[in-house]
């Protein structure tokens, strides 16, 4: 595929790896904060190509992983109603709630369907006027405009049977939280390329300045990530801390203005609970009052209470880059993709699932 194959070239990968080895003189810890990048790094064994001075840590960039248990429980409750068609992206189905997950609820016979796009959920609402269609709107800024568009479209079409259950998160507040922690080991960041396609990267400039860390907007193919690491390491070796754009073919500084406008029209910024991390101020999106009728939490009377995570699960440490999946006592034993204890083992973007599946030889 064009714009993909060129970025998976073996010779190019080795070339950049050689260059990184050439310029590095001291250890650096670089965090990537996107599940898609975690997936690529582990799937292509990129760490095998890097000098030992570089430590790559994986941040909370998997929206499936950071969706609070309460949200899963709400989803399970809604999907249990007989006149509901509950729709979702694939990975969400296996995330464990406090008692159940959506996949086993589907095995019980409830109408739970995987969709490729929130527009497919809106189509289901049009085709099934006697049912209530609920879409599990999970994601970072990349997915938020699509989720917003589905609501705007439903309102335009005067659909009364469509609503979304939101668990939308924003990246910059999470980055700030991680960098502001006194125990942070992070020297540099690879910023999530597709989040920046929507939002641009101007938000990262004050963060880079305040915490003195280089931030490189990076794509998702192996060459992109290696190049992103190279640029971050180069800055670190030269004691610079700028925002650079490796993913220039898809990202411009101001981002996509129509998509951003859509977010402003439909959502408001709210405090948000991140599974494994806790509450982060102004780090989430929820439907604003104009679209309150499309908020599933207003339509359904939900009885969900808060939940204590299984103490075995060290997702918090993993999502903040303090530990690796191998450091977890449960990893690969009580916790594996068939019986996940925590969220990072469920989603194939989660660090634990990626490490489990693509184990190094």
């Amino acid at each position: 595929m064009k714009f993909i194959d060129e970025y998976r070239d073996e010779a190019a990968a080795k070339l950049i790896a050689t260059k990184i080895a050439d310029i590095i003189t001291k250890p650096h810890t670089i965090m990537e904060i996107c599940g898609g990048q975690t997936h690529t790094i582990v799937k292509y064994g990129l760490e095998q190509l890097l000098p030992k001075e570089i430590t790559i840590v994986h941040g909370p960039g998997c929206p499936v992983c950071v969706t609070p248990v309460e949200s899963i429980d709400k989803a399970v409750e809604i999907a249990s109603y007989d006149n509901v068609i509950f729709t979702s992206f694939g990975d969400m189905l296996r995330v464990p709630g406090s008692k159940k997950d959506l996949l086993s609820l589907r095995a019980d016979g409830k109408d739970i369907r995987i969709v490729y796009s929130p527009l497919d959920a809106v189509n289901l609402a049009k085709e099934n006027p006697e049912k209530k269609i609920v879409f599990f709107a999970v994601g970072f800024e990349t997915t938020a405009p699509a989720n917003a568009m589905s609501v705007k479209l439903a309102k335009k079409l005067n659909l009364k049977n469509y609503s979304i259950l939101t668990s939308q998160v924003l990246v910059p507040p999470a980055m700030e939280l991680l960098l502001s922690s006194p125990s942070t080991k992070i020297n540099g960041f690879l910023a999530a390329g597709h989040v920046c396609t929507v939002m641009g990267y101007h938000e990262y400039i004050p963060i880079a300045e305040k915490y003195k860390v280089p931030i490189v907007v990076t794509g998702f193919e192996p060459i992109d990530i290696l190049q992103g690491i190279y640029l971050a390491v180069k800055q670190l070796e030269e004691n610079r801390f700028d925002v650079e754009n490796q993913y220039a073919r898809a990202v411009v500084k101001d981002g996509n203005i129509p998509a951003q406008q859509l977010l402003k029209d439909v959502f408001k910024v709210v405090d948000k609970q991140w599974r494994g991390i806790g509450k982060i101020a102004l780090s989430g999106l929820a439907l604003n009052d104009f679209y309150a009728d499309y908020d599933a939490e207003n339509i359904f009377d939900l009885q969900v209470s808060s939940f204590e995570e299984n103490s075995l699960c060290i997702a918090g440490d993993i999502l903040q880059g303090n530990k690796k999946p191998f450091d977890c006592a449960a990893f690969g034993k009580t916790c594996n993709p068939e019986h996940p204890v925590g969220a990072p083992m469920v989603s194939s973007e989660g660090a634990c699932a990626a490490y489990f599946r693509y184990a190094k030889v």
């Binding site: 595929m1 060129e6 999530a192």
Partner: protein, 96 residues
């Protein structure tokens, strides 16, 4: 966050629906994609597609520049590209 794939715009829908849609080609697989957020896109251009929406037009010049920068890097290192992973990891630039 985010599986977005590049695809080529083949044609636009003109059925007057609520959303502006286009037929997009992904190496022979086609799909209808919403192009509301890339109003200036033209037929033949590539867009980045995520969950049924075009997020941006791919800047082919930038893509070429990125790859050219790589090739130039390669020319400087021509004799020195190490193909063994262990060697890459152990290499130090003792000239620094």
């Amino acid at each position: 966050m985010c599986l977005a794939i590049p695809g080529k715009i083949l044609s636009f829908d003109d059925d007057g629906g609520a959303l502006k849609m286009a037929k997009v080609d992904f190496a022979g697989v086609t799909k209808k994609i919403c192009v509301d957020w890339v109003p200036d896109v033209k037929i033949g251009e590539y867009v980045l597609v995520h969950v049924g929406f075009a997020l941006n037009i791919i800047d082919e010049q930038q893509a070429e520049d990125t790859l050219r920068a790589l090739r130039e890097m390669g020319e400087l290192l021509d004799d020195e590209i190490i193909s063994d992973e262990d060697e890459i990891k152990n290499r130090r630039n003792t000239a620094r």
